[in-house]
Symmetry: C2
Subunit: 291 residues, 2 copies
């Protein structure tokens, strides 16, 4: 595996690869890799000649400077994991390379940004859009991989690719779950034993919502009530939000033509967990893990 | 020459061209081509294997709906001119292809946009940025050509390419002038005989400004006064603006490290003319036409 640190070198390399008719799969990350990232990389490895992973802690997407400082970093450990996964190139630029001057252009979202996690993180997705616009032009991939655990991020990237006509296929990768159904997350280690034991019920709540949608005559409000009341009665954690929206538009006006997302966020003592399921109009799971 | 009307076909074609190791020069236009466009195309023809011209009247960059409707269009005439210039592909998409859905993302400029012509055209350069972002991703050129007559547009495109890390070389093409110095423009035909006879003095005024800068001990205010007073005393047209700024940053704080633009706009009865010169810190002309 080769580490590339400058934008110029990365652009030269991808130019060369495209001239050699190689397809490039790209997994953008902020490093400190966990199983979720590795699932994306494995998927990229299957479908492309070349896999590029970027590691860049993007200051633009943090709401608080303290968050940015405390964000965990361990490049040597990440490097080993990437080598094990057969990654070809890791793009690891400095902050100064990515943001050498104050930006003249601001990006903003007039849709998809102000619900779910975006509602309490002003500017977060705008920061994500800016860094991805830059990375897409630097890496110039054929396919880009994002995990559906952050389904709103996938929806926002879908907007980016469509609005800007990036010549890139977006590959959403299904959430990996523990055997009891809890969505894998680097934050799960911050749960107490008791919290961990009950946390699988977050997924159970989503399945309750799905059951309602599969039966006829459901309404958005009934789904919200069902999921919220189940969570309230079975969890010690505090409900941050429960929502049921069209996907990927993330609006409340759900018709029989829309795919649907049910999404929740729960705050525990030292961890905030998010999870979701995305359903077809008839209530079937939309994205299914192959494994 | 081949006419390409869909985004998919254009992206397939450029993919194919890059795989064949062909370089692509790109001239984005709104059609109704004049000598200024042809100068850009000739420059692109010299430097690239393949020349792509786009013709798309971009609704996003018009401030008024009436302007957009009245914008002249003549694709057959344009097509003939492009064939004569040896253009390889004209990309000629519909409005529906370029803007199939309401955009989720808004672009805005926090620098370079609110001076000169941008001061009186709110949203214009944002619309230009959006369509260029799309076109750059659709055509994926190695080089893109813009005329320095609209020097602010060149400055804004420079920001776009830098901020978004487009892997594209921006080639600014010097303004073509009539034998008396008047900058060529499709609007010159709307001048009365009297107006046309005096209009060369706009360029004379810019040269007066340059002379001051070439001499020592100039200040921005003295340049403004000199150019403005010359225009006032020699032209019947109404001065819209006279400005002297750093280039391409377009700020008022000019140090000895900055390139400098002197720019003017003059309103005649049926035409608003713009012109500028861009100078090195020592007052020499920065971009010189080869011919």
């Amino acid at each position: 595996m080769k580490t590339i640190k400058t934008i110029e070198d990365m652009q030269l390399k991808q130019d060369e690869l495209h001239k050699e008719q190689k397809s490039i799969g790209f997994v953008p990350t902020m490093g400190y890799l966990h199983d979720g990232h590795l699932a994306l990389i494995k998927e990229a490895r299957k479908e492309n000649d070349i896999v590029v992973v970027s590691i860049f802690v993007n200051p633009l997407q943090f709401n608080q400077a303290s968050d940015l400082e405390q964000y965990p970093r361990d490049f040597e450990r990440d490097e080993k994991l990437l080598i094990e996964e057969g990654v070809d190139f890791v793009f690891y630029p400095s902050k100064e390379a990515m943001y050498p001057n104050p930006l003249s252009i601001d990006l903003s979202l007039n849709q998809r940004g102000d619900v779910l996690c975006g509602a309490t993180r002003p500017g977060h997705f705008e920061g994500v859009l800016m860094v991805l616009t830059k990375l897409f032009n630097i890496v110039n991939p054929n396919r880009v991989y994002f995990g559906l655990k952050d389904a709103q991020q996938v929806a926002v990237v879908d907007s980016l690719i469509n609005d800007f006509n990036f010549n890139i296929e977006l590959v959403p990768v299904p959430t990996i779950r523990e055997s009891d159904g809890l969505a894998m997350s680097s934050r799960n280690v911050n749960l107490s034993t008791y919290e961990r034991q009950e946390a699988y019920k977050i997924y159970q709540a989503l399945l309750k919502g799905q059951k309602l949608i599969k039966a006829s005559n459901w309404t958005r409000q009934r789904v919200l009530d069902e999921v919220e009341s189940f969570l309230k009665h079975t969890l010690s954690g505090e409900i941050d939000y429960v929502d049921c929206l069209t996907y990927p538009e993330l609006t409340r006006e759900i018709t029989e033509k829309h795919d649907i997302i049910i999404a929740v966020a729960v705050k525990y003592q030292n961890a905030r967990l998010i999870d979701n399921i995305i359903l077809t109009p008839s209530g079937d799971v939309k994205y299914r893990s192959e494994s």
